[in-house]
Symmetry: D2
Subunit: 142 residues, 4 copies
């Protein structure tokens, strides 16, 4: 699964086995992840949580199905300025069309963020990138 | 205001005047912002909204005060595969210790995401990055 | 539309015309709506916002369709201890299966709360109350 | 702790011991809690979760301190049409000025809702109900 944006932020995924609904990720703090306060930008943490949720849900999809984020709320509990950030996730509820997942992010034994989000599950893959037909309905309108 | 992570994602900020509570940002879609579905990763949109909210609130701070994200919820309304993403924000409520802001993201005239979040306002700047004294209390515990 | 819980809390709905996606509500503060701090309980405000969102979306449904709340986040901006609370709503996005709505609550000209939520749209009505077959799939799993 | 609104909705609280950060509640489904779809209104579930979070946090407050809900997001996972709804809560993070809590609601062994919210902690009690001086700053602006 090619994920250019995950490469940009720099985290690595560890996918659970098919059907497990589990996935984790790790991200080493580096200078380009910092915000003006000198701590890791919340967007980097969110990016990791969103990806891990999607990948965890992906392990539960039937062939041909795909999923997309509907909404995620993330709480920032502690600032992070160095170390290795780990993200784990849990499927709270898996319906036929919707799923709810939560993610916990931590550095060492300290929890630094928590997220709770909704994903939509679709019966077919979206159109190719840049396509106009499928694009419009890929997120919420399908 | 040096923001390495904003540079990594690649958006540019346009700050409102002192006291205005306004800020906007723009981000040109490029290949490294895409997720495995070929659309801009939600984390890139979130990163922009978080930064714009913080910068808008920053225009309302007294000298010496600083702010940090408590939580943000973002809804992904439409997939984005190309073009220029713009983000605007509005201070919904500005209290002495807490503020609520909302952000709208759009491409052309199409709204693609919406966020609603809480920020904390602190009387003094946090410790230097990597410092241990202030670090623990920078997000929620202060 | 019989709504016993709305009667219990005591708000009245003003539905927009068919297809409008609009609805508003009003609630007079009375002693039994107060929490231990002597202000209107957040649950009463949430109840009104949830109902108004659902009713606004309902005006856009085709015959036979129905909708249910997926999630709502509500911000409490100001305490309310007396007066008439009004709630207005707006459809942020209306997809085929999902919709996003926001609600603003105010007393006089002061905004007291804001909510942003997701609703699911279903092709058929749920089973009768107490039924077991449909009940399980009425919220998220259908 | 007199809570007229909790009495109106009809749930009962079981407070944890001083300092525990724990609280639970129970609510028997009755006809006046139902929405037009014949299932328990989301507002009733939210009301219980909000109260249980506040009461759990209250067990951790110093004498003279008080707390108020900043925001809560609730996910509705399964419809409830009968039985006894139980709500448990957990303090995710307890800072000096802010706390994050989560609540799980279930009927029997089935989880029916989940909430994640932010509370503010204040050094002094708010003004009396109906008072104007303190009222304005009780929620977010203090």
């Amino acid at each position: 699964m090619n994920n250019p944006y995950a490469d940009l932020v720099g985290f690595t995924l560890r996918l659970g086995r098919r059907g497990s609904g589990s996935c984790s990720a790790a991200l080493e703090v580096r200078p380009e992840l910092l915000n003006p306060n000198g701590v890791v930008h919340g967007g980097a943490l969110f990016s990791m949580a969103d990806t891990v949720m999607g990948a965890a849900l992906h392990t539960t999809l039937e062939p041909g199905e795909f999923c997309a984020t509907v909404e995620i709320k993330m709480h920032f509990l502690q600032p992070v300025s160095k170390g290795r950030i780990r993200c784990s996730t849990r499927v709270v509820q898996r319906g036929r069309r919707l799923a709810v997942l939560e993610s916990h992010l931590s550095v060492g034994r300290k929890q630094v963020a928590q997220a709770l989000g909704t994903f939509a599950i679709f019966a077919s893959r979206p159109a190719a990138p840049g396509g106009t037909a499928g694009a419009k309905s890929r997120r919420l309108s399908k």
